[in-house]
């Protein structure tokens, strides 16, 4: 490419592209094959960009139904929670021992408080319980819990390997505390699982049921 092309030709092409008009550069386009090629190619790209811009405008302005209140904040809080969980992974043995001790204390305190065990799952008025599958079962095809759906909120079911804090499978947001995993999700589950039901309220706060244990025959 000559120096002349790199400077003057480019400057004239840039000017013409900016005003989307080839008038004034006809002679240049006629005499310089590279300019002609460049002009056609960039003009076509400009048209594609215009169409992309129009799509953006349509997606921005097409009337749609508003979402449930609090859905954005709930998602942000979930993301923050995930970030905190990610940071917890490399923590030291001391942390785990402390956490285990605290969990044991809580467990015995809870067990001592509730004979039947039903009221222990009531957290700020929302009772959550993981009902089925529990114990020895034929399959994990259907998960069912119990709990009032919080206004504007949703449920979620998470399935874990026994003792693990990292979920193997997580349901999408649910309107009711029931869920059927897909075949692909079922294939990821081991013979023994633990699972829990969570509810998310509009403000982004979450409630969690105690874990249920189940084993597939």
């Amino acid at each position: 490419m000559s120096r002349l092309h790199g400077s003057e030709h480019d400057a004239r092409l840039a000017e013409a592209l900016a005003r989307r008009d080839a008038s004034g550069i006809e002679a240049l386009l006629a005499s310089c094959g590279e300019c002609r090629e460049q002009w056609e190619s960039l003009k076509a790209l400009g048209r594609d960009l215009d169409r992309a811009g129009r799509e953006f405008e349509l997606d921005r302005t097409t009337p749609t139904e508003p979402g449930p209140p609090g859905e954005v904040l709930a998602a942000i809080r979930l993301a923050r929670g995930d970030a905190r969980a990610a940071k917890r992974r490399p923590m030291t043995l001391v942390w785990w021992v402390t956490a285990l001790a605290a969990a044991l204390v809580l467990f015995f305190w809870f067990r001592g408080r509730s004979g039947a065990g039903d009221e222990q799952e009531l957290v700020m008025g929302v009772g959550l319980e993981a009902l089925a599958p529990r114990g020895l079962v034929e399959s994990f095809a259907q998960f069912e819990g119990k709990g009032d759906r919080p206004s504007g909120g949703f449920f979620r079911i998470s399935v874990f390997a026994p003792g693990s804090s990292e979920a193997l499978v997580v349901s999408p947001s649910l309107d009711a505390p029931r869920w059927q995993p897909t075949a692909e999700e079922l294939a990821r589950l081991p013979t023994r699982i633990e699972w829990r039901l969570e509810s998310f309220v509009a403000g982004g706060e979450s409630r969690v049921s105690p874990r249920a244990e189940a084993e597939r025959r």
């Binding site: 400057a11 900016a18 799509e55 953006f56 997606d59 954005v72």
Partner: protein, 206 residues
């Protein structure tokens, strides 16, 4: 031809303004990330655009994604946006920056459906053999274009976006960047050349 390196400026031209054109949005994002409750509340309002983009685009494609799945997508996009917020540099309006996340997630959801071979119907009851390609009713591969714009990086990517997505004239673009008019035009021209190289001369985005 320029290489399209992120944030590159051309030799002999003034650097982009130290204050990005959407500095207000950048301040909002940073404050929200630092835990400012008022900023977070404003950010939450601004991110209502996620549902708007997803719902509108889904609607225009014949509503292949149902309401519940759409709610999941909104959640996924907001989470992805939150995780990537530190990358936001204030070069584009927050909504313009968020838009590609929505296009990408919706595209993935539709591709997942195609892989499952779902039988879907449009709102009018027309049976579709599979989930439609996002490009079925749209002539441009917006996702590919946005990915190339991201690779191009500011200020050129933002000049292109301001020109085509926000419809600004070059004098307004030059004012936004506090650069001479000719510089804005040159950035645009070189930006287009880099984009063309990234997208491939033959394939284009249509």
């Amino acid at each position: 031809m320029t290489s399209g390196t992120r944030g590159e400026t051309d030799p002999g031209e003034p650097p982009p303004a130290a204050v990005p054109p959407h500095a207000e949005d950048l301040r909002l994002v940073r404050a929200a990330r630092l835990g400012d409750e008022r900023a977070l509340a404003t950010l939450v309002e601004r991110l209502a655009c996620v549902r708007q983009f997803l719902a509108a685009r889904n609607q225009r494609l014949g509503a292949p994604i149902e309401r519940e799945e759409l709610a999941d997508l909104v959640q996924e996009v907001v989470m992805a946006v939150w995780v990537r917020l530190d990358d936001y540099g204030g070069w584009a309006a927050l909504e313009t920056w968020v838009y590609p996340f929505c296009v990408h997630k919706l595209q993935n959801a539709l591709a997942k459906r195609r892989r499952r071979g779902d039988v879907l119907t449009t709102e009018e009851g027309e049976v579709l053999e599979a989930a439609p390609e996002p490009t079925r009713e749209s002539p441009v591969d917006v996702e590919r274009l946005n990915a190339a714009l991201d690779r191009l990086g500011p200020p050129k990517s933002e000049v292109v976006r301001l020109r085509h997505f926000e419809g600004l004239e070059f004098d307004a673009i030059a004012r936004r960047f506090q650069v001479p008019l000719e510089t804005a035009k040159t950035w645009y021209y070189r930006g287009l050349k880099s984009l063309r190289a990234m997208l491939g001369e033959a394939g284009g985005v249509a």
